[in-house]
């Protein structure tokens, strides 16, 4: 098991390096000159421009700048925003908690609602409740997030006034965005949980358990769910990436400060350092969550470690 965990840890090292190279070169390839953007509308001589490039380090070749960038990132220095002139690390840190609370609250909704509905649908397969859950989940998966978000905002916040329209830091303002984001992802999880539980319920050892006279509730709760949860848990790891992408949309719809809205602004304003930091952080969150998921899966099902 320790060997597996070590191997799994080692596997993510090149991925993190590759992620950082990709993030760096992606932003390198963006069109537009940051220096021109920075001094838009100001009188600049060619010498001024050259000095600005030098102070920003933009006169160095790309590999050199990559190494400098990585070194600084390791020290927690993501550079300075081209637009706001503030340190990127400060900007990101100031909104990171808002995005994390949204993503975690949505994940909570996903897990509770998604798994509960999926398990209920599976053990009552072909009943009206199964049909209902699956129809709702299929429609939910097909709804564009920005659309369900806008409609929820219009009807629940603006018209019914159940939730605040403006996104303060209160718990109350977190509820609607988290539920909108979480419910859609719950629909995906419910579908997978159902098929995963159904698949396990067909296994021979379940028949054996039933034949031995084990109560059906116990068959489901003890024998089936433990094995059915592995694909579900893996999906939740993958779902992290979806939720982080979803926060971009949810934050934009609800005009909520966070990494997502910051990323959208950074793209519009060509603010390279901010964009680099956000994409890198999102990828690192995903990589670490999936590292944990894989290790927990191996602990739950030791067969995985021997593959």
């Amino acid at each position: 098991m320790t060997a597996y965990i070590l191997r799994r840890l080692l596997r993510s090292v090149p991925v993190v390096v590759l992620v950082s190279i990709l993030v760096f070169s992606m932003v390198e390839m963006l069109p537009g000159d940051p220096v021109l953007h920075m001094f838009a509308g100001q009188y600049m001589t060619a010498e001024n421009m050259a000095t600005a490039r030098e102070t920003l380090g933009l006169d160095q070749p790309a590999p050199v700048r990559y190494l400098q960038w990585v070194t600084r990132v390791f020290q927690g220095d993501f550079g300075t925003s081209i637009v706001s002139k503030r340190p990127v690390a400060d900007m990101v840190l100031s909104v990171l908690p808002r995005t994390l609370e949204l993503a975690m609250a949505a994940m909570f909704v996903t897990i509770v609602v998604g798994i509960a509905l999926g398990v209920i649908a599976a053990i009552r397969q072909n009943s009206w409740i199964d049909t209902l859950v699956m129809v709702v989940a299929s429609i939910g998966v097909a709804m564009p997030l920005f659309w369900s978000g806008l409609l929820a905002l219009l009807y629940f916040s603006v018209q019914l006034r159940w939730f605040p329209v403006s996104q303060g830091a209160s718990f109350h303002s977190l509820v609607l965005p988290a539920v909108v984001l979480g419910l859609q992802s719950a629909c995906m999880v419910a579908r997978l949980t159902r098929s995963s539980v159904l698949q396990v319920l067909r296994e021979d050892y379940i028949t054996t358990a039933r034949a031995k006279g084990v109560l059906e509730n116990r068959v489901v709760a003890i024998h089936a769910l433990r094995n059915a949860f592995i694909p579900v848990f893996t999906l939740i790891g993958v779902q992290t990436s979806w939720l982080l992408g979803g926060t971009v949309i949810t934050e934009t719809v609800f005009a909520r400060p966070g990494l997502g809205t910051m990323a959208v602004d950074a793209i519009r304003q060509m603010d390279f350092p901010v964009l680099q930091a956000i994409v890198l952080i999102a990828a690192l969150i995903y990589t670490s969550v999936n590292l944990v998921v894989d290790i927990v899966n191996a602990l739950v099902d030791p067969r995985i470690a021997y593959d």
Partner: protein
């Protein structure tokens, strides 16, 4: 688990047909598909939308970009879906949007398929170091949230339809690469590959002639299921203003523009959203139906 195919009820017709034909694999798949209510609904929805997309010019009652003085009029007899702030007929705009969303969805999935197949075949067939590199590449791309990746690509190459396809396709190719890689990995150990190699077939020939056809059913299913996702991603880009630009009536973009008038004219949001939902639902139902019909493990 291997005997399940034989459990399928015999397909012999009640009245003996004049010409006895063997039940082919295709017959089984078709029967399984037609027995599935969801699959039929999906097929109907997608056929309808393809029809709308192809005949958009004929079906749309008005020019989708012609402005009139009927600003923001609610749905009524002349404008079924109402009009937008420039007095453009929303029904015509949504109808023309079908063409764009369908094209972008299919285009993006084809890009994802081509890249994913190339990468997956490379890794799965050759194994070893090449495979390790492929897995690393897949892991790397998977760690970016698809939408964020698409946003950066759209920002890099501008906001035209081909760029949207590329941006969405690059976010989805990992699914195909993973599927193809693991399928090829399993297939290449089979006897038929060895037999083929022993009579002198080259790697490329074996892959194209034997391995790819064998994993085709899984690919068809994934293509169908990915189209829905691709349409959702493209619409999200449009909503963020990073997709197709106005006056192109792209659905996500329509919602983005309608957002400013959401209280006055909620129909500007409702109809494009329903169109997206219906398309994605149709593609997903069709994909689920194909998967259930093509997967022998689920036949019982």
């Amino acid at each position: 688990m291997t005997e399940e195919i034989s459990q399928a009820p015999p397909a012999a017709p009640l009245v003996p047909a004049p010409e006895r034909r063997r039940t082919t694999e295709f017959d089984i798949v078709r029967r399984n598909f037609l027995r599935n209510k969801g699959a039929i609904i999906g097929l109907v929805i997608i056929s309808f939308l393809v029809f709308v997309a192809v005949f958009a010019d004929v079906l749309a009652p008005y020019d989708p970009i012609a402005q009139t003085r009927a600003f923001l009029s609610p749905p009524n007899g002349t404008h079924w879906f109402g009009t937008d702030v420039l007095g453009r007929d929303m029904l015509s705009r949504v109808i023309h949007g079908t063409r764009i969303s369908m094209a972008v969805g299919i285009g993006a999935v084809l890009i994802a398929l081509v890249i994913g197949m190339a990468v997956g075949l490379l890794g799965g067939y050759f194994g070893g170091r090449i495979d390790a590199a492929v897995v690393m590449l897949i892991d790397t791309f998977m760690s970016f949230p698809g939408l964020l990746l698409a946003m950066v690509i759209a920002a890099m190459f501008g906001t035209s339809l081909p760029v949207v396809m590329l941006a969405v396709g690059l976010g989805e190719f990992t699914l195909f690469a993973r599927l193809v890689r693991s399928a090829v990995y399993a297939e290449r150990a089979r006897d038929y590959v060895l037999a083929s190699r022993s009579i002198g077939a080259g790697s490329f020939f074996i892959m194209a002639r034997h391995v790819v056809p064998n994993i085709m059913p899984s690919i068809i299913v994934l293509v169908t299921l990915s189209i829905g996702n691709a349409i959702l991603s493209a619409a999200a880009l449009g909503f963020l203003g990073l997709g197709a630009q106005p006056p192109i009536p792209e659905w996500g973009n329509l919602v983005n523009v309608g957002r400013d008038y959401i209280q006055m004219a909620p129909w500007l949001i409702w109809f494009p959203g329903i169109a997206i939902m219906l398309t994605v639902l149709g593609a997903n139902l069709l994909g689920d139906g194909l998967r259930d019909a093509l997967d022998p493990k689920l036949r019982r």
